[in-house]
Amino acid sequence: MNRIDDYIRIKLELFEGPLDLLLHLIRSQQIDISAISIARITDQYLETIELMKELDLDVAGDFLVMAATLILIKSRMLLPPSENTADNLEEEDPREELIRRLKQYELFKEASLKLEDMEQIRHRMYSRPSTPDEIQGGKDWIIDVSLVDLLTALKDIIIRRKDVIAHIVRPSPVSVREKMTRILELIRENGTLLFSEVFDDASSRQDVIATFLAILELVRTQLIRARQRCLMSDIRLVLCKPRQE
């Protein structure tokens, strides 16, 4: 492969994505984003994708999705205005959404260049190196830890103890099992329990959901039965008789 091919390859690899590539094509035509010719930009875009394939570059799915979008817009631009909207409504420009996204992307790209400058300036200023005595406990803690650290720790445990446990990662502070135990206790104490009463001590929506699931589970595993005297009357929960009886 010659030097020019190498050159093109590297340039193509540098596009951050389909929007980046489109923005480049538009800039090299020196036109305003709002004034893009979809037909022309689509042709150029497809040519570039072809070239990337020829150079055995991995053309990510995102690029192909954009190709399809461009072709779709191009075809809609060719359609005559539909009859039912022609009279009163302004036909929407099929390019509108694409133009909006390109402008938005361009803005953040600009912002990212500014961030890069800021980081370079900041990096030229050195602070005091930290010393070991700054670490460890004091009275007013500044706790230097984030949710990401917490999740990473959780991940580590799971990897390390995968064989032993696989049940610690649910963020529900309300355990369904606890609810099941509680409901069984209540029924045992009182002989029966009204469905509506079960939710009396539920303190949150989560709690209600857990309680409800606990009832379903108890019914499913045939530990309790739910009975109703008549339609719309309160449901009464009772213990099932043990199977061996």
Binding site: L19, Y105, M118, E119, L151
Partner: protein
């Protein structure tokens, strides 16, 4: 120039700021100063900072992430770097910078929203930004799927030399810049290539 009555306060501030490797808040400085000095000796912090920054010195005080910190002046950065054996860390990739810019201006924001703006999948970039503690999880969005929300960290402010998020240049500024510079496009025939070291020799081809 400081009067003699300020000197003890100034010296104490200098000692405190010097001894910390991270920014210290004005509240903490003044609280400690008032514990060790007479009330009339404790001046406004701004007076000390102004005095400090106008002296002939290799150092200056900057405001970072809401606190004050002494740093070396940028003009000595090459010399200081000579002292440190550590080489300059790899700069941020364009993908990281774009993603950071989006998170910084649009936080709290979800991964799909970021991907929609960038037009590409960003999980790898998000992971590396999380690892560098430049972004963090802020909670969840209420809505379908309850996706996680991301935002920038104090570390982000530190790395980019910002006092607070409000110090970021406004997006409208960029909009104006872009509108003004329609003609500059030709000067940027291709994306900048400083992320990939192997392109450095090819850059010259570009310029010929």
């Amino acid at each position: 120039m400081a009067e003699m009555s300020d000197s003890l306060f100034f010296s104490l501030c200098e000692a405190l700021l010097f001894s910390s490797s991270e920014p210290i808040s004005e509240t903490v400085i003044l609280r400690i100063a008032s514990e060790y000095l007479q009330d009339d000796e404790v001046g406004p912090l701004s007076e000390f900072i102004e005095w400090y920054n106008q002296r002939q010195s290799g150092l200056k005080i900057v405001k970072l992430a809401g606190g004050w910190q002494i740093v070396t002046r940028p003009e000595f950065s090459d010399a200081v770097r000579r002292l440190k054996t550590t080489t300059r860390k790899a700069r941020f990739s364009r993908a990281s910078l774009e993603t950071l810019a989006i998170v910084a201006y649009r936080q709290p924001i979800t991964a799909p929203e970021i991907e929609n703006i960038r037009g590409v999948e960003c999980s790898g970039v998000l992971k590396s930004l999380l690892d560098k503690k430049l972004i963090t999880i802020l909670g969840r969005k209420h809505g379908p799927g309850n996706p996680l929300l991301y935002g920038t960290t104090p570390q982000f402010l530190m790395v980019f030399g910002l006092d607070e998020l409000q110090s970021l240049p406004s997006l409208e500024e960029f909009e104006r810049d872009l509108a003004d510079s329609d003609t500059k496009y030709l000067e940027i025939p291709f994306p900048q290539t400083d992320d990939i070291s192997s392109t450095s020799n090819l850059e010259s081809v570009d310029e010929k």
